[in-house]
């Protein structure tokens, strides 16, 4: 491109006022993951902007604030003030996905509570490791419920308000049943040959029954 049309453009469209340029630099630095050079800033801003000058004003504006405009090499970035680092400790909490064993155990407790360890094992078809239960207890997503009035009086597990809070539920009864999961597309597999529709309904009823015990009181 030759210089002539650009000059013409410059005279036609003046660069935005400096206050506006400052806002632009502020928004770009905020939203961009990497530090940004003044050249990159100007490439993204309207023609005729002076990013370096805008940066001077912006830096001044953030002086003494909780957030600073800092220079990183020949680029610029926004960072939290270093004296407030102690507030960021929670930010570095590393969240990991629950293991499949743990999420399945949790799901069974949520849908069938109050439920004993033996019952969980029967539903999952495998034994439940101590670590899995301990992890769920530690997360405060499950707690011990009342003992079952069956031989051995085994302890039961129930879900906690922390659990409801984490999963955005008002109560465990709001969990959708199998039929609803299926109609929401969360259950892709279809019943195979030999499973009649009435079998299916039985299963749904069971899930609801497990819950009703708990909530009747």
């Amino acid at each position: 491109m030759s210089d002539i049309p650009e000059e013409k453009e410059e005279s036609l469209f003046d660069a935005p006022p400096m206050a506006e340029q400052e806002r632009m630099v502020e928004a770009i630095l905020f939203a961009t993951a990497e530090p940004v050079t003044t050249a990159e800033l100007e490439a993204r801003m309207p023609h005729g902007c002076d990013a370096a000058e805008a940066l001077v004003y912006l830096r001044k504006r953030y002086e003494g604030r909780g957030v600073h405009v800092v220079r990183v090499g020949d680029a610029w970035a926004m960072r939290t003030a270093s004296d407030l680092g102690f507030l960021m400790q929670k930010e570095t909490v590393e969240t990991r996905k629950l293991s499949r064993a743990a999420i399945e155990t949790l799901a069974i407790i949520a849908y069938h509570q109050p439920v004993t360890r033996a019952e969980i094992e029967e539903i999952r078809g495998v034994s439940v490791s101590r670590g899995t239960v301990d992890q769920l207890l530690e997360l405060e997503w499950i707690r011990f419920g009342r003992r079952k009035m069956t031989p051995g009086r085994p302890v039961t597990f129930v879900v906690t308000p922390t659990f409801l809070d984490h999963f955005g539920l008002e109560n465990a009864r709001d969990l959708p049943g199998l039929k609803e999961l299926r109609s929401a597309g969360l259950l892709e597999n279809r019943p195979p040959l030999g499973v009649t529709v009435s079998d299916q309904d039985d299963e749904d009823d069971q899930a609801v029954e497990g819950q009703s015990e708990l909530f009747e009181d």
Partner: protein, 261 residues
């Protein structure tokens, strides 16, 4: 629908063109209400003042035309057509004092309400999508790793994980993609072997059902499997030039006979 032709004649050229355009687009409609709404717009009226009677006529004309053009109309459209025909008769005939159901006017008012409500939701959806959106018009902080000091591991899961896990457990018995229930499946190979032994006796036309293996006729699951396998095996034998197969009309018994050599 005796007044259809009369109705068609009354349509202006523009209306007729619009109706034809609609028919071409029939698959673009999301159900009968959507179609009614589009037809209603051609009345160029406030939805509150729409003539339901006229709308019912337009709809019935539309369905009739679609039938003439042999366009496949989903059952929903035909159910709505039947209902509108009923509504039309209610609106045109004097009310039967013995009839306790809602009057034609009430039914028409409810339909008008449904149309207005759908229209309102359409507009709301458009306004919602026209709003500034996160990640398109406004943005969150680009990085969030300013500080990294204390490392603590916590575990998380979403409601979706939880529900999917439960669904997985409760359906694990049904979810066996590679394990077929062999004891209730009659394979084509089995059927073919059986048929090869039997076709020598099939000199005359015989119903394919009579070739089902013993003990597979009563249980519906087993019968389905055996019938499918026997039919497939018959086709295979026809291909090999050993059998002739025939069926007089749809759903009539399928018959086979040994091919004359």
């Amino acid at each position: 629908m005796s007044d259809n032709e009369f109705q068609e004649d009354k349509l202006s050229v523009n209306e007729r063109l619009a109706a034809e355009a609609l028919i071409v687009d029939v698959e673009g409609f999301e159900g009968p209400l959507d179609l009614l709404l589009t037809l209603g717009r051609t009345q160029k009226l406030d939805l509150r003042q729409i003539s339901i009677l006229q709308l019912a006529r337009q709809y019935l004309v539309f369905v009739e035309k679609a039938k003439q053009l042999r366009l496949e109309l989903a059952a929903d459209y035909l159910v709505m057509a039947a209902w509108l025909a009923f509504l039309k008769s209610r609106l045109l005939l004097p009310p039967d004092p013995k009839d306790e159901g809602p009057s034609g006017e009430e039914l028409a008012a409810h339909l008008a309400f449904q149309l207005e409500r759908l229209q309102a939701m359409r507009e709301s959806a458009a306004r919602l999508m026209a709003r500034d959106q996160l990640g398109r018009d406004f943005f969150a902080r680009g990085i969030t790793t300013d500080v990294s000091r204390v490392r603590k591991v916590t575990y998380t899961a979403t409601l979706l994980d939880l529900m999917q896990a439960y669904a997985r457990i409760r359906t694990k018995d049904e979810f066996r993609p590679f394990v077929m229930d062999r004891d209730r499946v009659f394979t084509m190979e089995q059927a073919l072997e059986r048929m090869r032994g039997l076709i020598g006796f099939a000199g005359d036309w015989a119903d394919i059902v009579s070739f089902l293996p013993e003990g597979w006729e009563s249980d519906p699951v087993k019968r389905r499997s055996a019938t499918a396998a026997t039919f497939a095996a018959s086709l295979e034998l026809v291909k090999e030039g050993k059998l002739v197969i025939r069926q007089s009309e749809t759903f009539a018994p399928i018959q086979i006979r040994k091919k004359d050599q």
